[in-house]
């Protein structure tokens, strides 16, 4: 009986710990680069607020926001985000940073993607040559962008050449590398993994491929317990000069991973 009692007490204490805890659902593409670790520690130093990061795909991150399981979401799928805000789940949406998507594939480039004029042509070439293409298939920001491009061509990709793996960006790149396949990835994750995989950037630079990241606070009017005040502090900090500089200075293998978005921080 005593044990149970101690257990309950411990439980209560653990629930009412001192520094405020914020929960943020972010995307695997941010977590895999290691940027979140740096943001968490710098933010804790300055405000004594602990930020817990739950790294999932953008689709799930927004779902967690809709269920009120997190205080913040940090994602990259503008259309879904706008819907999220419009439905009243999110407030204070701010642009934080951007990078871009690139098409990676084996050096030999069997589909000739390198010579494509734009991204739709590149996708068409892969499909026509029936070269293997590895898709996230998990409703993440990257996956949504990929499906958007297929839609622009007007096809529903299917067949043995089109592999949906349903995993995070890192795992997906590993699979693509093993299968010598093409893959749409964000540049950051690719740079983070570049050394351990056998893929190269074959197509880049189309304006469709710009990949903006937004941070959104979960609406306290929907869920009274979410920590909006602290969430707002984090949003303001992240979009301030200080936060933006941290993002701009963040490098992996000597390469800048994200570009801060300081000029456009207005709703």
């Amino acid at each position: 009986m005593k044990k149970v009692f101690i257990f309950i007490i411990a439980l209560l204490i653990s629930c009412s710990g001192n520094p405020v805890v914020l929960k943020m659902a972010s995307t695997t593409s941010i977590e895999n680069t290691g940027l979140t670790d740096i943001l968490v520690s710098s933010f804790k130093e300055e405000y004594d607020i602990v930020l817990y990061v739950i790294a999932v795909g953008t689709g799930k991150a927004l779902e967690l926001g809709k269920n009120g399981d997190v205080d913040l979401v940090f994602v990259h799928a503008p259309d879904l985000e706008k819907k999220f805000v419009k439905e009243g789940f999110g407030v204070s949406r701010r642009m934080v940073m951007f990078n871009d998507f690139v098409i990676v594939g084996p050096e030999s480039d069997p589909a000739g993607v390198k010579n494509a004029k734009n991204v739709t042509e590149a996708f068409k070439k892969i499909m026509e040559k029936r070269c293997t293409f590895v898709s996230r298939g998990d409703n993440s920001g990257t996956n949504i962008k990929e499906r958007y491009i297929w839609k622009r061509i007007g096809v529903e990709p299917a067949g043995p050449w089109y592999i949906e793996v349903g995993q995070g960006m890192g795992n997906t790149l590993n699979i693509a590398s093993e299968k010598k396949s093409y893959c749409l990835t964000d540049r950051s994750t690719f740079y983070a993994l570049e050394k351990s995989i056998d893929l190269q950037i074959l197509f880049e630079g189309d304006s469709i491929l710009v990949n903006p990241y937004h941070i959104i606070a979960v609406n306290p009017e929907k869920f009274s317990y979410v920590k909006y005040r602290e969430a707002k502090i984090f949003i303001d900090w992240l979009t301030s000069e200080k936060g933006q500089k941290l993002i701009g200075d963040f490098k992996r293998n000597g390469k800048q991973i994200f570009h801060p978005y300081i000029d456009l921080n207005r709703d």
Binding site: K23, Y52, I54, N67, M169, L193, S196
Partner: protein
């Protein structure tokens, strides 16, 4: 193959350098798995005795169900417990989701049927003479159960070890209910999942080796404990 060797080196390096991520992940793995094993033991073993000591219709079916539950997939437990713990769930207001407590709840669901089923199996197969002897000597029902428990202590410990192994090595529950939050709910197995997705294979294997190292140490401790209990068990009967 080369990176297997690298992983061995890395494992030793990670252990000796007291890498903060590894230390924290080990701490989370150990205390979460210990807590859930203890709770599972104190719920699973008594239930096993209740089932075994009573004759009721549907007992066979119940045991079959229990055995089936040993095959519960961790992702399914993760999903179902998530439905209860998320803010829209029945227990949402406690805010347990993405805390170590959520991981413990999930792991208890995983280990309790396992420990219970293995104990039932032992009880069904064991010679009940000692229990009857205890009753003829004037022991109460509870005392006779205790005597029997003493008799099959080694098998119960084996069941507990099996339960511990299952929760210590699982990843589905931890990642879905814990959320893999660094320094908080990130344990060894979810770190392996993360490192793999980052393409850091040798670090992943190194962490796997560290997990096995802990499991080995714990099993040695259990071995010593069960060895001792066997001796005291004998002396108990002798006395």
């Amino acid at each position: 193959m080369e990176y297997l060797l690298d992983s061995f080196k890395e494992a030793i390096y990670l252990l000796l350098s007291f890498d903060k991520d590894v230390l924290q992940a080990s701490r989370v793995s150990l205390w979460v798995a210990f807590t859930s094993t203890i709770i599972s033991t104190f719920s699973g073993v008594p239930i096993a005795f209740l089932i075994s000591f009573r004759n009721f219709s549907g007992k066979r079916i119940l045991i079959t169900v229990l055995n089936t539950l040993m095959a519960l997939p961790t992702v399914l437990i993760g999903l179902v417990v998530y439905a209860f713990l998320c803010r829209r769930g029945i227990f949402g207001s406690f805010g347990f989701l993405y805390t170590p407590w959520a991981m413990i709840i999930g792991q208890v669901v995983l280990a309790t049927p396992l420990i219970c089923a293995l104990t039932v199996a032992t009880l069904e197969g064991v010679d009940r003479t000692i229990e009857r002897t205890a009753v003829t000597l004037g022991a109460s029902r509870f005392q006779s159960m205790l005597a029997l428990a003493q008799e099959i202590k080694v098998q119960i410990i084996a069941a507990v070890i099996a339960g511990f192994g299952r929760v210590f090595a699982e990843v589905g529950i931890s990642i879905m209910l814990g959320g893999n939050i660094r320094f908080y709910t990130r344990n060894i197995t979810t770190t392996i999942a993360l490192e793999t997705s980052k393409g850091e294979f040798s670090r992943g294997i190194a962490l796997g080796l560290i997990l096995l190292f802990f499991a080995f140490t714990i099993n040695v401790i259990f071995q010593v404990l069960s060895g001792r209990s066997r001796i005291t068990g004998r002396s108990f009967i002798g006395a």
